[in-house]
Symmetry: C2
């Protein structure tokens, strides 16, 4: 970035005007957008679905290896993913940020260009938000709003015994991407003359820095008239999430190691770190894939969809929550989510 | 607080469970609350109004003189105020917080007790949120959701020429409260043995630390069948807000100094600081009163309401935005909001 314009040169209202002046509302439900005390939405006989997440610099992202545009994009995606995980369609977002004066207008423009790219791709409107200063660091809070046909939302606690357990896409990539970037950061800090070679790991790094939300899966459900019995997105890691569904539905489950969807790029990268790819698929977070359970009668509808893997089934509570390994051993699934994993192995 | 329980002892999910376990949803529109990827609301033929604000420690509040319970209460109130300012009724909130490990569970419980007190008083449900860690400081992001009869929301840019300009309550108190607390903080830091005597200034300090949202005014409008032509809440200061309404409505206005609602407690406190109470009423922020314009034909309906003051009227654009002083001089209103004011005089 060649220019550096101080945020203070615009003032609070000038800054909001600068960042939001090109918004064109895309959804008929967006009645009042940015610029008033509040926004107004009208979902015309649908139910409104709403979620919110906070991203804190140094906790959820590291600006040393996260381009601001990717950060803006991902901040939106992680919230849209929660809306899709309710079997709903996102329609609007509200974006609050707090920034220190180490950021310039040009840096904020980069961030917002990622936000707007995500909004355009997923057809959502930015309808409000708040821009404050912080003493230190960059804090982002996104609220996403969506719509669903009345009572067609899908919760976590409504899995049924005998349901097939399914996941979209592949798992563990974002975690391996993080390991790479953390390693390159360490090398760079020790010797700034060494330029990182990340090209060969672009798949897993992309999984971390530029995730997508599974809009296509929700559209597939609608087309095939499938209503999952339960669903959630995989942000903390598969084992943590399957325990949520099992415990909240008062059921057990069996997962097969050989059925876990693992990309070759992730597997090869995991071997470089001498880590078991299965452990990454089970405990790595931030893939933003969907975990859902469906009636066995729906199997024929999904079996040809290459983006969906059946990894196991729901059992009665008393059988516990287990994984059966390729060697046919049975182990209980433990709640080793993203954070715990980072601490132990990262 | 006698006990100190570390947040890490509960873990993320344990913490959310601890903080939200006593929630009982009050609104029929709250269909799915805390505990899933997203919440679901159904406003049954009404339009949904939504707003979000971020509060950052050291920027928006100082924990040295802000009790955590009051902070929780105020975090909710400032967002409800924005919903009322649209002529809507708040129904739900979502609360995101980021906290460093200097806070204990007991401290968070204090904060949440203020949040729940506000929810109960204003009849809103806490339906979701996110709890993360921060490296430094306490960051709060609240999203408030409300409902309004279709097309009965009131914006800022729809004032009409000839409208009466009205404000609820009294102005400038929160700013003087801040001056007192900042002064006492300075004295205390210089000599910790001096205990502050704040009792005599409880009114203005209460205005800062424990504001209310003007639910009563919105209910009065409904009872009297008044729909203001334009409205916003006063968070940055009257002069800043009246300029928003004038500019966005492409009109001018005249405000009379003698009509500004000033509480005796504020006036007396301002004199102690040798500040003009009028300047406080114009430029002090955080009073969370409502500024609105109504048709002159509605005057008879409001004239007996002691919580509403008529302070001027809207003119054609060419006449500008002016204040007429008690000495009958005319001055242009300047956009000296809360932040600018703090810098110049605080």
């Amino acid at each position: 970035m060649e220019n550096r314009t101080e945020i203070s040169s615009l003032g609070e209202f000038g800054l909001i005007e600068h960042l939001t002046k090109n918004i064109e509302l895309q959804n008929a439900s967006s009645i009042v957008g940015v610029g008033d005390d509040a926004a107004v939405i009208d979902h015309f006989g649908k139910q409104t679905v709403i979620t919110s997440d906070m991203l804190v610099e140094g906790v959820h992202f590291d600006l040393m290896y996260t381009p601001l545009k990717h950060l803006g994009y991902k901040s939106v995606i992680v919230n849209l993913s929660d809306i899709y995980a309710m079997n709903a369609t996102p329609t609007q977002i509200i974006l609050n940020i707090a920034i220190s004066n180490r950021f310039s207008i040009e840096a904020l423009d980069e961030f917002y260009s990622g936000v707007y790219t995500a909004c355009e791709k997923y057809g959502v409107d930015l309808i409000g938000g708040d821009t404050s200063s912080s003493h230190k660091g960059f804090i982002i809070s996104v609220t996403a709003i969506g719509e669903v046909t009345p009572d067609q939302y899908v919760k976590r606690n409504t899995a049924k015994q005998g349901d097939l357990v399914c996941v979209s896409g592949d798992l563990g990539g974002a975690y391996i991407g993080l390991l790479f970037l953390e390693r390159e950061k360490k090398i760079y800090l020790e010797n700034p003359n060494i330029q990182p070679d990340l090209e060969s790991e672009s798949y897993v790094i992309g999984r971390l820095l530029r995730p997508e939300a599974r809009k296509d899966i929700i559209e597939f459900f609608e087309k095939e008239k499938i209503t999952p019995h339960s669903m959630m997105d995989i942000s903390d890691g598969l084992s943590s999430e399957i325990l949520h569904i099992s415990n909240q539905s008062d059921l057990g489950c069996v997962i097969y190691e050989e059925r876990l969807p693992i990309a070759d790029e992730m597997k090869n990268a995991a071997y470089k770190f001498q880590i078991d790819p299965t452990a990454c698929a089970l405990s790595g977070g931030e893939d933003y894939e969907l975990l859902f359970t469906i009636d066995q009668n729906d199997y024929d509808k999904i079996k040809l969809n290459e983006d969906i893997s059946v990894i196991g089934y729901m059992t009665e509570r008393e059988k516990g929550t287990n994984i059966i390994t390729k060697g046919e051993s049975t182990y209980p699934i433990t709640a080793q989510g993203w954070n715990a994993f980072k601490k132990n192995q990262g």
